[in-house]
Symmetry: C2
Subunit: 677 residues, 2 copies
């Protein structure tokens, strides 16, 4: 026998190989997904495999004990120093000596799957743009003069099939010392170019290096900036962090910021500096949290709405503030991090920015589409990315539509009297007893309700500081359910409702959720103004959804996905009570968490995903809310907080809303019914 | 008749076209080189043509008066505003109405030839990387949202066949205002990417723009930095300027600078800053000289030796100071000007750096090869680029060899007692009467000899300040011819030679070329030390040439080309008397001027030339002088200043050198004869 049959699992790929062929070589020739950084030199141990020993014929092949060459000294040394699971071999050392079935464990695959916690969400298949490659470079020869870089390029071509490598001057500076220190063996971090762009060396280390290679997935929102720090080798999230967008001082919502630029020449530059500085600060703090050097961050993927997109890039967003809402550029971008003043990360780091869909529908919406894949849904799904500017996707595998809706920052706790961003001490869950009208609540960071033992101990540290976005949604919905607020959104008086928690404030009333003033804390209330702010926000959201439904010609959706930086925290029941979203079966209203951030993370981990979303955005049909007369109509009609007797069968199943009205005038059942009449 | 025959001259291209086809359209379809910036909209007037009117049949076609459509209002308007030569038509306006012969005048060709003054030098065919293109861009449409940039890209693709255009963020910033100011018509400066790189927009103007588009061809030498400012549209040289390389304060020759880095950590950074600052200053001054804005400079091509190459790029040159003289990178480079801190030129400007040939043979030598094309020579040509580091090319169409030789800065007037760089007031030409031993000389900036009327008036302004490189070569050669110096290079005494111009200085003698001390000026002398410095320099040069001749296996060359920043000023006769160059017929010793600078200029004007030299350098065989034992032998043997009785037939035809000897010891006939024995 001069050759043998080799079958790889789980791929099922098989082929005959000459006896003595290393398993790694066989895998490469068959295109089996078996990792290796050192290129088969017994250094990296990425190519671990599990041979099927003993006589068995699962795959129609008889495997005997001598099917692989004997355990060798390289493997022994590796095992003694770094450990090797029993039964594992190094694919580059073990040679084929007979018919054999070889299993490639998940951690030995380049394109490993990152298993995500929620079963409803799809997994990420690793296909990172940046990889570590170990190469042995030819030494210089006076008689055949060539540059060290050119010889490195040849080595990458011959040993890794990487053609046309490039490097920036900063890397060139470090090339010669690294090659000599590593005795002409180096590890390079190579970034695959996007599309036709040439691959580039981002970093170089003498000898074999298996150190950190990290990336940032950044969701740049109008109000908050959230980031995940991921290991580019396996997709693991090492840390997540967020901070307020410092542009808030120029205007709370996007249009205020556009106005600021119009009124203040150079205002865009101020805002560009502010947001770039914040991203840099975020990179530093998230790296500190994960205990890595910020310079170990080699890639960032950024998703954001169009105004943030332009301000980040240093482009005046003024055109986005007026019809026809022309983007300066809509395509995806691949940049040097330094072009965005990201001085904290690696000097050669690359940034990828997802494409925008339209002047009001940004790269963040593209990221949601990448994460939630409405275009692959069999049923009609409405995806609502709740933020200062809500972005909505509606569709199924036939067609996907998108629009944005100017909800304002109320859902994020801004413009709310006791509002605050989601942080420890903020009230995030609220229940109001329908009989006693007494509230109980929970604060971020604890599962204990305010009427349960141990609550005081929890809040002794954080205090009870305010209400965050999800808290105010629940508070308003609970007040409505408890009959403290009528369908028009008017808060009743203590007399009308029989609770002393309603106190007069000028000509309106407020509900005292928590009075911490005795202990020197704040008095946390829901005011009439708060209700109005939430009504405006939810009306905008609802009107956007209706507009998309009109465009497709449907009256109901099969399911609703709530997304957004705080989307995970919104209670579907309360969202429906409030009329934020169209009527849908309650068990069909799910939360996708920060889908834009997840989309950014997928793009960070996968070039294939970047290519896919670039193709997808071209197929999404955009609906421009700002010029659609029906939007205004839907908006007005959506102002009411629906009755259970309104034609919302799903809502009636959940709660029975009282028909209270605190307004002596007519029309108390709000706009929605009018719309339906 | 529905179509007609159109013949273009001088190309001879011909085809039949439907009646009514614009001449520009016909030219494009036939691939005729007819320029247009506006794309046929009657704006730019670049497409002027001369139709052949009247009955004639030169090309076998009968042309009648009605062969083109009538003179139209667009042409009339253009003529009245900007003028149009009689008989000329605009190719985009004149339509084919019958058989016609159409001449494309040289100025209407894209690939125009730049006629150079010297007939011995080849012409440059314009093929610039950067061109102005006028485009009409679709307006934004809310219902089909796309970025302004994407629509501009589509316009460039459809109107100019430019695919995959890119732009940096600085350009993106200016995109929207330009498009709107120009009512969706803009002119863009597009840089063709090198090789596979994507084309890039360097600048944008509202509407039609035919303003300046300039480039810098920079010859970055160890001692001097010289630049030509060229119009990228027609290759015209608008200004030429030079300045001293400020790195001189770190060491006069390359190896001193490498040593400086070795002794002073961070010294490379100092030198990088110094040279980048100088290039920036040169860009500013040359732009001022040509009365253009420095920001109208969109491209630069830089040629330099390997040490300067690395120091410019910010790469530590230490490896170039020791065997095996490994370059960090040898290939050509295409960079953003800002990567080289060229803040004065356009922010989007691009820089192209020619490839290096070897660790001692740089991009400047590649530029000389591009300019002089030894590989296309039928006879065996030696090209000597004289500088602080001389670079030599020897070969013909069969084979080309290259080496460098460390001549030091003596040929540039440095390390010479009365030496100075070439500037007004410097002695550049010297003659010494063989009988009287009296000198006469000329200074830079005047054709009047020192013994002629009017000389005092000339030097009254500049003074007589020193001797430049060509001056010292002539002075030493003339002293040898007048019998004041013997073959070994020893200066005689007044007694031995009979002239009081020889004065003792310690144990040696000096020749007083000019004594300006009475008028408060310097006493300009040629000392024994000066002779020794020139001997060392010329020996190195000669030894390099011999080494190349050995490698090819020849004893004589057919012709010699002297090049270098001051190469144009070296007298072939004196160079041969001195023994700088191998023996060759005097009429076969020519000057190519600053061939490296010319090569840089060719590369600036032609992408085809860049591609050609990149291919050529790979075929040049490199000889490393530093490790070749024969180099040292040739160097020692070349120390003498040859006798006419030496076997140098060509030299004997020019002058008869005296057999004087001022050394009482033996061996006075120098090394060369020894070599030949």
């Amino acid at each position: 026998m001069t050759d043998a049959l080799v079958i790889f699992t789980p791929s099922g790929k098989r082929g005959r190989f000459a006896l003595g062929t290393p398993v790694l070589t066989a895998a490469r020739q068959l295109g089996v997904d078996l990792d290796s950084v050192c290129g088969g030199r017994g250094i990296c141990s990425k190519c671990q495999i599990t041979p099927g020993y003993g006589e068995f014929s699962k795959h129609g092949v008889t495997v005997s004990d001598g099917a692989l060459s004997e355990w060798n000294s390289v493997e022994e040394r590796y095992k003694s120093i770094r450990g090797l699971t029993e039964g594992r071999r190094l694919g580059c050392q073990a040679k084929v000596m007979g018919d054999v079935v070889i299993d490639v464990p998940p951690e030995s695959q380049v394109h490993k799957q990152v298993i995500r916690k929620s079963a409803t969400q799809r997994d990420i298949v690793m296909d990172p743009a940046t990889r570590l490659l170990y190469v042995e470079v030819a030494e210089p020869d006076m008689h055949e003069p060539s540059g060290d870089f050119e010889r490195l390029a040849t080595a990458l071509r011959d040993q890794w099939q990487v053609n046309g490598i490039t490097a920036d001057l900063a890397l060139m500076r470090r090339l010669q010392p690294s090659l000599r220190k590593g005795d002409w063996k180096v590890t390079v971090a190579v970034h695959r170019g996007n599309h036709d762009a040439a691959p580039r060396i981002l970093d170089i280390w003498p000898g074999f290096h298996d150190g950190g290679l990290y990336g940032l997935a950044i969701d740049l929102g109008s109000t908050t900036i959230a980031a995940h720090l991921c290991d580019l080798r396996d997709g693991a999230v090492l840390a997540s962090a967020g901070l307020m967008n410092p542009q808030i001082r120029f205007g709370e919502d996007l249009m205020s910021r556009v106005s600021y630029v119009m009124m203040n020449p150079g205002g865009d530059v101020e805002m560009t500096c502010a947001v770039r500085g914040a991203i840099n600060a975020l990179a530093i703090s998230i790296a500190a949290e994960a205990n890595i050097a910020p310079t170990a961050i080699y890639e960032a993927v950024i998703v954001c709405n169009p105004v943030m997109h332009h301000l980040l890039l240093g482009i005046d967003p003024v055109e986005l503030g007026q019809a026809p809402f022309a983007l300066a550029l809509s395509g995806s971008l691949s940049l040097d991090a330094r072009e965005l003043d990201m001085g904290a990360v690696n000097p050669s780091a690359r940034v990828y920015i997802l494409p925008c869909i339209a002047g009001h529908v940004g790269a963040d919406c593209a990221a949601v589409a990448l994460s939630e894949e409405p275009g692959k849904s069999k049923d009609m799904v409405l995806i609502v990315d709740v933020g200062t500017n809500a972005e909505l996707l509606l569709g199924n595998e036939t067609r996907v539509l998108a629009c944005s809706s100017p909800t304002g920052p109320a859902f994020e706790g801004a413009q709310i009297s006791s509002g605050q961003r989601a942080a420890p001490g903020a009230i995030e869950r609220v229940e109001i007893d329908v009989v006693t009208k007494e509230p109980r609540f929970r604060v971020i960071g604890s599962d204990i309700w305010s009427n349960e033992a141990g609550f005081d101990a929890v809040t002794a540290i954080t205090g009870i500081t305010g209400i965050c976005g999800s808290g105010i949604i629940e508070a308003v919905a609970e007040m409505r359910m408890a009959g403290l607020v009528d369908a028009k959104g008017l808060i009743g008086s203590a007399e009308q409702t029989g609770t002393a928690r309603l106190i007069p404030e000028g000509r309106t009333h407020s509900y005292v959720l928590h009075d911490g003033s005795a202990a020197g804390g704040p008095k946390i209330m829901v005011t009439q103004g708060d209700i109005r702010a939430i009504q405006l926000a939810k009306s905008a959201l609802y009107a956007g959804a209706r507009l998309l439904m009109d465009a497709i010609g449907i009256d109901t959706v099969d399911r609703v996905v709530l997304a957004g930086a705080f989307g995970a925290h919104i209670s579907p029941k309360h969202a429906m009570v409030l009329g934020m979203i169209p009527d849908a079966p309650l068990d069909k209203v799910t939360s996708a968490g920060n889908a834009a951030g997840t989309g950014a993370r997928i793009a960070l981990c996968s070039v294939a995903a970047r290519n896919a979303i670039e193709a997808t955005v071209g197929e999404i049909h955009k609906v421009e809310t700002a010029i659609e007369p029906k939007f205004q109509e839907h908006f007005v009609n959506a102002n009411a907080i629906p009755h259970a007797t309104d034609p919302f069968p799903e809502l009636a199943k959940i709660v029975t809303l009282p028909h209270v009205s605190f307004n002596t005038g007519g029309g108390g059942d709000g706009g929605r019914r009018r719309k339906r009449d």
